[in-house]
């Protein structure tokens, strides 16, 4: 019997071809666009978070107690190499490195800006977060007296490759120290904190400038292999109880908020599209049932139970909804595939976007979840859309229908 119901539902769903095609197109297109937008929103926040992790915090960062509060190099981490080696031995750690950082003033002959000088090891940074991908101009080689500069800071100080910059800071003995550096590369990390304020030089050199022992750090960053970062945080905290161990979300709450905001945008878009789908299916099903009142009357009179009619109408709605869904999956995959590979080029807004730490080209991300949630939402929309038409059918008196049709 189910086969017969299925068969009738299929024939009826696509009986009025133009109506069915319009509905399927409407569902498919709106779903394709929705999935594309979801991918873009998510891609935007995921890429921002990814680049911030790679260029700065990793999944976890370790600091000397009070360092983050006072931002003073007297709160530093001693024997950073040994600590990093211990951390690297943990199974859940993909890579770890240390950095030394100080605040000061970056000056050229004409301009000056508050900035921070970060001591890094290029090879470590490459392994930690593909550091070489951040190079906008120049090469990842400090050479002699070389420095890398964040692109926004370079813009403000009007620095180019080969320009000279003087950085002035206070060393660990509270003496004022200045160093003359030559710009070897300009970096674009999309981490606004670095792009606007950071200059990078070899960490040993910075330690010498700050009159600190060679392997003294202000930060140890850890990239994990596990999703259970809080557990790894506890593990590392146990190993180094005198240090502050912070997760990415604790260091960059604004990025987490942005991700949550994107998620709310996604939910709103999702809700609007599903309301449109619901209204579309409801309209088509209602009109279709009104068109076929006589047919349902006949079916009821010859012994077709109301529960069969309910199942048939539901199957019809599902046929329409799921055909639209399949089209939506194809369009969504095509849309997302394009945006994942080529990205959405918004270079005309590049200036404004970089203020928010965004790339001018936004790449989307593809998650199975988009299609799974839409699948269930379309099933729910189909279910809800038949309630009203079914109420109409429930009141149907087959005798009246037959009498009126004769």
């Amino acid at each position: 019997m189910f086969r017969t119901i299925l068969h009738m539902a299929y024939r009826n769903a696509f009986l009025r071809k133009s109506r069915a095609i319009l509905l399927v197109l409407m569902i498919g297109l709106s779903m394709g666009v929705m999935v594309g937008l979801e991918g873009l929103y998510d891609g935007m926040s995921i890429h921002m978070i990814d680049k911030t992790m790679r260029s700065d915090s990793g999944n976890l960062s370790l600091f000397a107690k009070k360092y983050r509060l006072e931002n003073d190099i007297k709160y530093h981490i001693d024997n950073a190499n040994e600590k990093v080696d211990t951390i690297r031995k943990l199974r859940e750690v993909r890579y770890a490195l240390w950095r030394i950082e100080t605040s000061g003033l970056a000056q050229t002959a004409r301009k000056s800006k508050p900035a921070k000088l970060i001591g890094i090891d290029i090879e470590d940074e490459k392994r930690f977060g593909k550091f070489d991908e951040f190079f906008k101009e120049g090469k990842p080689d400090f050479g002699r007296n070389g420095v890398f500069v964040g692109n926004e800071l370079a813009k403000k100080l009007k620095l180019h490759i080969g320009s000279k910059v003087i950085f002035t800071t206070q060393d660990s003995r509270l003496e004022i120290q200045s160093v003359a550096l030559k710009v070897k590369a300009i970096l674009h990390t999309t981490n606004i904190n670095l792009d606007e304020r950071a200059l990078f030089l070899p960490r040993e050199r910075l330690n010498t400038l700050l009159a600190l022992p060679k392997n003294t750090a202000t930060q140890i960053a850890v990239m994990s292999t596990t999703n259970d970062v809080p557990l790894l945080q506890k593990q590392i905290q146990t190993l180094f109880p005198k240090l502050d161990v912070k997760r990415f979300v604790e260091l960059y709450p604004q990025l987490k908020q942005m991700q949550d905001l994107m998620s709310i945008f996604n939910q709103i878009t999702f809700f609007i599209v599903m309301v449109v789908v619901f209204i579309g299916i409801l309209g088509v099903m209602y009109v279709s049932i009104l068109d076929r009142i006589r047919e349902f009357g006949i079916l009821l009179s010859i012994g077709y139970a109301y529960r069969n009619i309910r199942l048939q109408v539901l199957t019809e709605a599902l046929f329409l909804g799921l055909t639209g869904y399949l089209l939506g999956v194809l369009l969504g995959l095509a849309f997302l595939g394009y945006l994942t590979y080529y990205g959405l080029d918004l270079s005309i807004f590049a200036e404004g976007m970089s203020t928010f730490g965004l790339d001018s080209t936004i790449y989307a991300t593809i998650k199975t979840g988009y299609f799974v949630s839409t699948f269930f939402a379309i099933i729910i929309a189909s279910l809800l859309s038949i309630i009203l038409p079914l109420r109409k059918l429930k009141k149907l008196n087959p005798i009246e229908v037959i009498r009126n049709s004769q």
Binding site: M1, G303, Y304, I402, S405
Partner: protein, 223 residues
Amino acid sequence: MIKLIDVNKYFYRGEAREVHALHNINLTIEEGEFTVVSGPSGCGKTTLLNAIGVLDSISEGELWLEGREIAQLSAEEKTEIRLKEMGFVFQAYNLVPVLNVEENIGFIMRLQGYEEEKIKERVLEVAKILKIDDKLDALPNLLSGGQQQRVAVARAVASKPKIILADEPTANLDSRNSMTLMEMMRELNSREKITILFSSHDDYVIQNARRIILLEDGEIISS
């Protein structure tokens, strides 16, 4: 066996009783009878058939079908009776438009859960008797009125119901098709031993009936 005891049917408009459609009907129809309910338009033929077919309720009295009193049954049970024990032929054919002839004829059997092989066998058998075996793949809208009525008859008889109720089945047919239909119904009645109850004021149908129930203003004049 069908038994009606003091059956009355009223139609209401709002609170007021508007039409007294059936007056104290007392009637017994035995298994395998070929009966025609006749009378002028508006005399209550269709109302009587609808009541016997469990399509409409009665206002007063008792209606017994195969030893069960219909008033005691739930809506589900009534649907079950219509599906398993009745076959309906309507004046306006009332075929399912999205199903082809083969699917329309086998529709009731499929709902009853017969095996597909048995359904196909029976559909072909009935279609041959009714001379529509060359139209099995056609959709109803491509058939003539006579052909559609034969499909409706085939659908009604295919599942071998105990009773076939046919409401003015020849009303939309020409005399040649009416004759053919009556011959087929008589043949089915004698071959399948199905109780057949017609409503008609067609002379040819009345002449071919084995029993005639004459109605006037909702009352049985003769039976």
